[in-house]
């Protein structure tokens, strides 16, 4: 890794100063300059060249290098959420590109430090990843490459089974502690034999009844689900309860920790990119750019925010939404007075000269994530201005078609895609299914079916961790379906509505 050349170093100082003057607040940011091969390598490891060895990074590398050499894509920069922030620049970029990228990087750096969803991430991520790498390499030395690799494969297939709010959950009690309080034995009725009153204590002797009652209590205890409530952090559940060997438990914990580290980046993609783009345009156009760089800048920027070909571009939408918010809060275009105004002309020219735009966008970048951000700030006017639409596959023509331009539908589709990062919600609903220690997963159905093929393969991988039969309940063609794998056979059956777990 090379230090920045003197020339770029000067730009870095300038741009950093501009960024701080605008009120951005970030950890020390270290820039490193790499050639495209090195940058592709770093990018394949998600920004951490010291990560554990695994072929999937090699696969990513091949994909990146291929698409770079065919001229399909180019990575301009990579930023790592860490203290200090590490940012990689591409050596072959022109000076103007480097300046733009630096301004963009400071936007990300500010977001990492201040956005609430990042507040619980490990800020020593570079060290964490390196430690994980060392640990896993030791296991490789001890146990052999194949065994460790096979288990990492298994873990990675389950990697997305985490709770989107898991970063904020505190464990209040140990997993063993059983909750007794909501269980009321006095309400249990023991069936009796019919008898005349005077014969009752002979036909139904009290000792026997007491014995029966105890039996029922025991049975109910056993039947009562474990865990008490469905748990979305399937990985943690496996770490706690699956019969894993210590090294396996350790590796699974590593994969889980890294998954949670990357989680906020997936939850704030639109915002994070929008925020960084907002600042690169602001800093470049107001401060950092020289006259001769205007054309190159415009070219680069318009490429970044291009929505050509009907593509939904998070950079563009994020940037425009921040601008829209700034404008609305500058002019006071919010609140019931504005919302209830029916005069369209007045509404359009609405300007209360509040000047609260800057303040608002800094607040927004602090407390929102993509879902709440779009839920709160996406307006019908915005959708119309940016020509958003929903599309849908027409099965007859086998072509995509514009489905609707209605605000509600667009918003619904967008939120659905962003919620849980477009992944199915899957919970552990019962770890003692049929009282046989079988693991029962529940897919909370939201209108989109699971991909059956990969679901089956994933289930087989889950069995490698749980080592008892595993099941997942999902819905296919309006029916409740239960996929099961017992280590040998994969079976599938339809459940009646009563048998199905309903959450």
């Amino acid at each position: 890794m090379a230090d920045l050349p003197k020339e770029l170093r000067i730009f870095q100082d300038d741009i950093e100063k501009y960024a701080r003057d605008y009120g951005l607040d970030f950890f020390t940011t270290v820039f490193e300059i790499l050639d495209f091969e090195q940058l592709n390598q770093v990018a394949s490891y998600g920004g951490f060249p010291t990560r554990y060895p695994h072929w999937s990074f090699g696969m990513e590398y091949e994909r990146l290098s291929k698409s770079y050499s065919y001229g399909l894509s180019k990575i301009y920069e990579m930023v790592i959420n860490n203290d200090p922030v590490v940012a990689y620049l591409l050596k072959s970029n022109a000076v103007m590109d480097q300046k733009l990228v630096m301004a963009h990087v400071f936007g990300h750096a500010d977001f990492f430090k201040n956005n609430y969803y990042f507040s619980v991430t490990n800020r020593k991520a570079v060290d964490m990843m390196a430690n994980h790498g060392v640990k896993i390499r030791r296991y490789v030395e001890k146990l052999g490459y194949d065994r460790v690799e096979a288990f990492i494969d298994t873990c990675l297939t389950l990697e997305n089974l985490i709770d989107p709010h898991g970063n904020f959950m505190k464990r209040t009690r140990s997993p063993e502690a059983d909750s007794e309080q909501d269980f009321d034995p006095s309400r249990i009725k023991v069936p009796k034999l019919r008898s005349k009153d005077y014969m009752d204590k002979f036909i139904n002797p009290p000792e026997f009844l007491e014995q029966q009652k105890q039996k029922i209590i025991d049975e109910q205890k056993r039947e009562r689900g474990f865990p008490d409530s469905p748990q979305q952090d399937v990985l943690q559940f496996l770490i706690d309860y699956a019969p894993l060997e210590n090294w396996e438990r350790d590796i699974l914990s590593i994969i889980r920790e890294e998954a949670y580290y990357f989680l906020p980046q997936g939850q704030t993609k639109v915002m994070n990119e929008g925020w960084a783009s907002y600042w690169h345009t602001t800093i470049m156009t107001n401060k950092a750019m020289t006259d001769s760089e205007v054309i190159d800048y415009a070219d680069h920027h318009s490429g970044t925010v291009s929505m050509a070909g009907g593509r939904f571009n998070p950079y563009k939408i994020g940037l425009e939404l921040f601008r829209d918010i700034e404008d609305r809060w500058n002019k006071g275009k919010f609140g019931s007075e504005y919302d209830n105004c029916t005069n369209m002309v007045e509404k359009k020219n609405w300007d209360r000269k509040l000047g609260k735009g800057k303040e608002k966008i800094f607040e927004v970048r602090k407390i929102y994530n993509d879902v709440t951000f779009l839920d709160e700030f996406l307006t019908p006017e915005f959708c119309a201005e940016h020509k958003l639409f929903t599309f849908q596959m027409n099965p007859k023509s086998n072509e995509y078609e514009i489905a609707s331009r209605e605000f509600e539908k667009i918003k619904k589709q967008l939120l659905f895609q962003l919620a849980n990062m477009g992944r199915p919600r899957i919970f552990v609903s019962n770890a003692n299914y049929q009282n046989r220690g079988e693991l029962y997963l529940w897919h909370q159905f939201e209108g989109v079916e699971l991909k059956l093929e990969t679901a089956k393969e994933t289930l087989m991988n889950l069995h490698k961790c749980w080592r008892r039969p595993v099941h997942i309940q999902t819905r296919l063609d309006e029916h409740y379906r239960l996929l099961s794998f017992d280590g040998k056979d994969l079976t599938e059956r339809t459940l009646s509505k009563d048998d199905a777990y309903q959450g």
């Binding site: 770093v42 060249p49 695994h54 072929w55 590398y61 593509r311 995509y400 895609q417």
Partner: protein
């Protein structure tokens, strides 16, 4: 900067190789590999390489886009509609493909089928002269001017005589600074090979049979290419008469009419005589037919040509009999009978039956595992 990507990348390649190897029989019989052939690479669709997850299915292709147009307007099939990417819409359309070099593919084929390396015949006598650009000279044609060396020379001269100014670093070469590439002519051992593919295109050979021929010849070609430096392929089609055609025509023509195999053998021999002297070339004639020759007389004529002309020149003669509804398959039996073991050239005649696509794998093995 030291990075470990090389380890992970080669591990990935190794996994791919393993998968190809495991499914080689499938790949071969499906014939989907060579349809995606570039110059040195083939792309093999391999969706199973991605790690599975619990993920959404096709989502009925819903998503968010932006741009002009009315509801109901088509956006084209799967064009840039990844939308939010991770949301999974339209993802099923992108089957992951892995690229592999033909050389690597040949290696896998060799390992899996247990093919021996080919011992090129008459290595020693077969040599030709090759030019290699190895040196630098100060005279030569302008087209071979070596700019870098010329400027270096000019720079050296200017520094030596004190006319070089570091503040204004202009270097102007003069005539005596010019340097040119030169070549040396060296004898190189030649191991060239020519594949002569002969196909029966008479009425009885249908599309399915041609598909088999095409698939099989791709693999044979791939393997032989890995064994020889220079390879030529010639294509002959025949029904009652034979003619030489280009690759395109070879796989697409469909004629009707009778079958006179000797015409093709005759033509093959003529091509060899004209272009490929046996002392310089390894010659591989492959003949694919449904085995329904016009007459027994002609079959005898074929054997005569084989014995007297083709076999003495060729490394091996391979006959693949593709089964069709109409073919009697008589030629295969006759050939087997005529070249019974014991005869001098018999072990260089390989006949193989390819009743269907699944049999291609074994047939390739039969053809190639003598290492001739």
């Amino acid at each position: 900067m030291f990075l470990k990507i090389n380890t992970d990348h080669s591990r990935f390649r190794q996994i791919i190789r393993g998968k190809i190897k495991k499914d080689l029989r499938k790949f071969i019989s499906r014939g989907e590999v060579f349809g995606r052939k570039g110059k040195d690479l083939v792309s093999i669709p391999m969706p199973s390489i991605d790690l599975p997850h619990f993920e959404f299915g096709d989502n009925k292709g819903r998503g968010i886009g932006a741009g002009d147009g009315q509801p109901g307007q088509t956006l084209g099939p799967g064009e840039g509609k990844e939308g939010e990417g991770k949301a999974g819409n339209a993802e099923g359309l992108h089957v992951r493909e892995v690229d592999i070099t033909l050389e690597e593919l040949a290696q896998i084929l060799g390992e899996e089928l247990g093919l021996p390396r080919i011992e090129p015949k008459g290595d020693k006598q077969m040599s030709s002269m090759r030019d290699r650009y190895t040196g630098i000279n100060n005279i030569g044609p302008q087209s071979l001017l070596h700019f870098k060396r010329t400027y270096k020379e000019a720079l050296r001269r200017q520094i030596a005589n004190g006319t070089y100014d570091p503040e204004n670093p202009i270097v102007t070469p003069e005539g005596r600074d010019e340097r040119f590439r030169t070549w040396k002519t060296k004898p190189v051992e030649n191991n060239n090979a020519v594949i002569i593919l002969i196909m029966d295109v008479s009425g009885s050979m249908g599309d399915e049979q041609k598909e088999i021929v095409r698939t099989e010849s791709f693999w044979i070609d791939t393997w032989l290419r890995s064994q020889y430096k220079g390879i030529d392929t010639r294509y002959i089609v025949h029904d009652a008469t034979a003619r030489e055609v280009d690759r395109e025509t070879f796989f697409s023509t469909r004629e009707s009419g009778g079958t006179i195999i000797s015409s093709a053998y005759q033509l093959a021999d003529e091509i060899i005589q004209k272009h490929y002297p046996a002392s310089e070339w390894n010659i591989y004639p492959f003949h694919f037919s449904d085995g329904d020759n016009w007459s027994a007389d002609d079959t005898q004529k074929c054997f005569q040509i084989l014995e007297q002309k083709l076999l003495p020149k060729s490394n091996v003669f391979c006959y693949g009999q593709v089964e069709s509804l109409y073919g009697s398959g008589q030629f295969f039996r006759d050939l087997k009978e005529h070249f019974q073991s014991g005869k001098s050239a018999a072990d260089r005649v390989i006949a193989s039956r390819i009743p269907n696509k699944e049999a291609i794998y074994d047939s390739i093995k039969e053809f190639l595992n003598k290492g001739l």
